[in-house]
């Protein structure tokens, strides 16, 4: 690159690092507000983690509250409710993963086989739609019409088939099923978009050659399509397994109620009750830290595993 198009006085700074940086001054200036945002709202809170090692006092603040070492952690780790929330987080996440992950791949493969373009477009539009509906609405649908004991759609169906109505919202076992169903309803369709994106790059002549060689549709799916999306599948699996300890607060809090709290209390709702409702900042921060550390450990392990089986990994 010649220094003609550089805005710096090229004769002086030529080829030095400073000249390079000066050349891109506008870009750095544009980037500054973004970096400031991350500094203030993502990195400053990381400093706040010290609260987990303090007996935090809101009147003294982070800088003056007394340090107590690992006392807060010992308190958290010896609390029965904490372990229940950890267990529930893992159980709910794994159940959703076990149902949604294969279903997403199956539906993607099926959508990829549909040659009727209008049918494909229409069904895709409808399948993506639930992702754009809020959890408040989804919970409203589940609790007010779909799974209500008296007159709910599902119970009416059960009754018309001769069964007895179930208390889907009040029974711990059924509540878990309902939680998984609502997650499946909301996210499976949307999940297909990533596999369909991976499949758009496929060379059509591969299918054609297989067809001419007499391969059946099933054989083409198994021997051509599946291997082509394998790396996407592995990446998605790593990402989702590494999120097994993170859970949104919306779904469990909005779908849950007091009678199922033993299965619906997850880390996010527990931190919310402890930190925001009861103002125990130290304990809530400690739980957040525990969660972040476990997340990173799982992510690293999953990444190693992916590399072990010859995939790219994500870090």
């Amino acid at each position: 690159m010649t220094y003609k198009n550089s805005s710096a006085p090229a004769g002086i700074y030529k080829k030095t690092m400073a000249a390079k940086i000066w050349r891109y001054k506008w870009l750095y200036l544009m980037l500054a507000p973004v970096m400031l945002y991350f500094l203030v709202f993502k990195y400053a809170p990381m400093y706040g983690i010290v609260m987990a090692f303090q007996k935090y006092n809101p009147f003294k603040g982070i800088f003056k509250s007394p340090f107590v070492g690992t006392e807060v952690f010992r308190k958290v780790l010896s609390n029965h409710n904490f372990w229940i929330s950890v267990k529930n987080t893992i159980v709910l996440n794994l159940l959703v993963l076990v149902v949604n992950f294969p279903l997403t791949i199956i539906i993607s493969l099926m959508l990829n086989e549909i040659r009727h373009l209008r049918f494909k477009k229409l069904t895709q539009s409808v399948l993506y739609l639930p992702h754009f509906v809020s959890w408040v609405v989804v919970a409203g649908i589940a609790r007010a019409t779909l799974f209500t004991t008296n007159g709910g759609t599902v119970n009416m169906l059960i009754e018309s088939l001769g069964g007895t109505p179930k208390s889907f919202l009040g029974d711990a076992g059924w509540w878990t099923v309902m939680y998984v169903i609502m997650n499946t309803w909301k996210e499976v369709g949307w999940g297909t978009i990533i596999y369909l994106a991976a499949l758009t790059g496929i060379d059509e002549s591969l299918y054609e050659a297989a067809y001419l060689d007499g391969a059946t549709k099933m054989q083409r799916i198994v021997y051509i399509t599946l291997p082509l999306i394998k790396s996407t599948v592995v990446t998605m699996l790593i990402l989702q397994v590494s999120r097994v300890m993170s859970i949104g607060l919306d779904a469990p809090l909005l779908l849950g109620n007091d009678s199922v709290i033993n299965v619906s209390e997850v880390i996010a709702t527990y931190v919310y009750r402890l930190g925001i409702v009861r103002n125990d900042y130290s304990q809530a921060t400690a739980i957040g830290l525990f969660q972040s550390v476990v997340n990173i450990l799982i992510l690293v392990l999953a990444d190693r595993f992916a590399k072990l089986i010859g995939e790219e990994g994500i870090i």
Partner: protein, 301 residues
Amino acid sequence: MTLGKRNKSNDYSGVKESFTLLDVFIYIFIGLAAIICLYPILNVLAISLSGYQEVLSNSVTWYPKNISFAAYKDIFRRKQIWQAMWTTISVTIYGTGTGLVLTTVAAYVLSRNNLPGRKYFSAIILFTMYFSGGIIPTFVVVKGLGLVDTLGALFIPQAVSVFNFVIMRTFFRELPESLEESAQIDGATELQVLFKIVLPLSVPIIATVGLFYAVQYWNDYFQSLIYITTDSKYTLQLRLRSFLFGQELDAQAQVSGDRGQIMTQSLKMASIMFATFPILVVYPWLQKYFVKGMMLGSVKG
């Protein structure tokens, strides 16, 4: 193989393939999946538009019976829900605007291959995806800045989404570098390159990321729950929650029951439709963009 190169249509190059049993199964399965996705929404719409007796007897399925707009008239009369609607519209506009500007700038700058230090800046951003201070330390910072119980708390603390940054950066990286270089040789400044060359080529990804931000703010429940304490500042989702799961509507329905007989159920369903309607309206328009944007942004991501 030469036979196949003749056309690039989506079916295997004009080879007429028979419709197998597997195809029948696929069409039925996908069709059913679509019906399952759509039914609950149709059911909500139908109940919100049906008459008192029909809702009372639980006989409404996917279409309205004895059409009545009474529930909507009742919902529209409530000042609270309009207030909440206005709050949510404001937050969505501010949040989407801020998010789009910051994300586009960051993604554009950090997609430039020869920018010194770009790897470090990217790393600083990406690291926050894997490790965070957590809910409470973030809350303490927001509180310290005096943002609690203001509209600002609903979008400033989460102004840039790392996921959106990643798909946008992937998109910009795919643009040919020579475009920008030739423009610069012609004397265009960095800002001119961004506005005159890069942005016009990036409509699908901007629409996609804009939609993601807008939906995130429109549907937000968590941020409003922890940061908003004053009733008059409630967002749409908070208001909807108190309508759906609180006692507000039950008491009201008894009163209006004397006037025109509306089921609480219809009111609840009408408020769901009220809160979801804007999304349902823009969804078909934006769909072609976000499908394209996701494909382009995520292929290599």
